[in-house]
């Protein structure tokens, strides 16, 4: 079989190196290693695809995978709720005057660039999947979403919300739902759903920071800055740095996000509060990034992505399980000091971290102010 022949010729590095490093090696490494790294990548991809539930609509073809530039198409839904709508801009096409189309196109481009340059990931599926987005969905529509196949953006009602293409991090957020769906489809309910949401905020924010060339200290850590309409009292929709403080407005209400596990919110709406409790892991990411300093995608971002895509994480992961995965990845990728930074970040948001020693000894429990609420979020 072709696969096993290639595996024999490989270095076995897929057990050790994350795929972005293998991709780098395959592209830029010493000549004698390049082919072996490519073979490793092929094995790595097969292992990953076998492990993860992969519910996205389709995967890039061989030709799409070979092309490492974005393949974007933007549609105009013409204020209806039918997808995708009328095609208005295809990759490399002439610019159009519609600002929502331009923002969607440019935002998809910046998001593609981020995933390719930082993680060596070719689009959502790692295989060059074309990126489709529809703008002007619905009438006065206050939302942007990922339907499992494409991105969808509303115009906002103009009173509470502006158009949803206005913030690059919102576009990065939606595309990250596609990536999460492809690598580890965290169940969109309760704690795993809040982790799914947090991944989108994390990588949406990193897309913005990467494009602006900002360090963790320079970044605003806001999600949806510019999205609130003029007159609304607030700076953004969410704050990863200070969850619960993004807005407080008579019409919109108050930002409901908790900053620590102590204030975990039990609710049935919003799939069990997936956009509410995401504040807790969001802040753990922010604290890790600040703990490392410098560009957040270099250490904290890599740790989070490897924890998401690593083989041990369940699609129904709790905060505690994900925290342990990030600490383990930090230790593996950057050493014990990095592990301590990440463990401290989770401790500050009162999420219990259980770390298994590599030798397989008894787990060591870090008793950092674990609240009774820590168990509360499981469905």
């Amino acid at each position: 079989m072709n696969t096993s022949e290639r595996a024999v010729a490989s270095l076995g590095l897929h057990h050790v190196l994350p795929p972005y490093m293998l991709e780098h090696l395959a592209e830029n490494g010493p000549e004698r290693l390049r082919e072996a790294a490519r073979a490793d990548l092929a094995v790595d991809r097969q292992l990953r695809s076998a492990r993860a539930a992969r519910p996205i609509a389709r995967y890039g073809t061989a030709a799409e995978a070979a092309d490492t530039t974005p393949n974007r198409t933007v549609y105009d839904a013409k204020n209806r709720r039918q997808l995708p709508g009328v095609e208005v801009l295809r990759e490399g096409g002439q610019p159009v005057s519609d600002i929502a189309v331009t923002e969607a196109y440019d935002g998809l481009g910046a998001t593609f660039t981020f995933w390719w340059e930082v993680f060596g990931r070719n689009s959502i599926d790692g295989n060059g999947l074309p990126l489709d987005a529809s703008v002007h969905y619905g009438r006065d529509y206050d939302n942007a979403f990922w339907d499992g196949q494409q991105m969808v953006f509303g115009d906002g009602d103009g009173t509470l919300f502006n158009r949803f293409t206005v913030s690059l991090d919102v576009i990065g957020h939606e595309l990250a739902h596609g990536v999460t769906g492809a690598v580890r489809d965290l169940v969109y309910e309760g704690q795993s759903g809040a982790l799914n949401e947090s991944m989108s905020d994390v990588f949406g924010s990193l897309v913005k920071q990467y494009a602006a060339h900002q360090t963790a200290e320079e970044a605003d850590w806001l999600i949806g800055a510019g999205l609130l309409a003029a007159g609304v009292q607030g700076t953004a929709l969410r704050s990863m740095k200070a969850p619960g403080t993004a807005y407080d407005d008579p019409n919109l209400g108050k930002d409901p996000q908790p900053a620590t596990m102590t204030d975990f919110v039990e609710m049935t709406d919003d799939n069990g509060g997936v956009h509410v409790n995401s504040g807790i892991p969001n802040r753990a990411f922010y604290l890790s990034a600040i703990g490392f300093g410098g560009y957040a995608w270099e250490q904290a971002g890599r740790i989070w992505f490897e924890a998401l895509s690593g083989p041990g994480l369940s699609t129904a992961a709790t905060f505690t399980e994900f925290a342990a995965a990030t600490v383990a990845q930090a230790n593996t990728l950057f050493g014990p000091e990095a592990g301590a930074v990440v463990a401290d970040a989770w401790g500050q948001v009162a999420v219990e971290v259980v770390v298994e020693l590599p030798e397989g000894d008894d787990p060591v429990v870090d008793v950092t102010q674990t609240e009774s609420g820590a168990e509360a979020g499981a469905e």
Binding site: A53, P55, I56, R80, R81, Q82, L83, G138, R139, D142, N143, A144, F145, W146, D147, G148, V152, L160, F161, F164, V170, H173, E174, H177, G178, T180, G181, A182, D185, Y188, N196, E197, S200, G224, L227, L237, L252, G253, P256, D269, D270, N271, V274, H275, V276
Partner: protein
């Protein structure tokens, strides 16, 4: 016919206050229009809970209740809708908010 619509979820996760429409209080033409939109969306035939769609995020969830005589039917639907008539009904009910 009494209809209620409650929207939650979405990227912003700001719930829309519940909208309630009692067609017996509307002018006849308008009441007919709303009731025909309910029939066209075939709300009575929809299952109470949608099947989970994996790999999606940020979609609005609409809880729709149709109360007519002795029958009361509540469904939860998640965008996007396969049947455009459902979107038309939700837009129509939202216009009463």
């Amino acid at each position: 016919m009494i209809l209620t619509l409650y929207r939650s979820g979405g990227f912003a996760a700001v719930a829309q206050p519940e909208v309630s429409v009692d067609t017996s209080t509307l002018p006849k033409d308008e009441a007919d229009h709303v009731e025909s939109a309910v029939r066209e969306a075939r709300v009575a035939e929809l299952a109470g809970q949608p099947a989970a769609v994996p790999g999606a995020g940020d979609r609005f969830v609409y809880e729709l209740t149709v109360h007519e005589g002795n029958t009361r039917h509540t469904v939860k639907v998640t965008e996007p809708f396969a049947d455009p008539a459902l979107g038309t009904l939700i837009d129509l009910l939202s216009s009463y908010s």
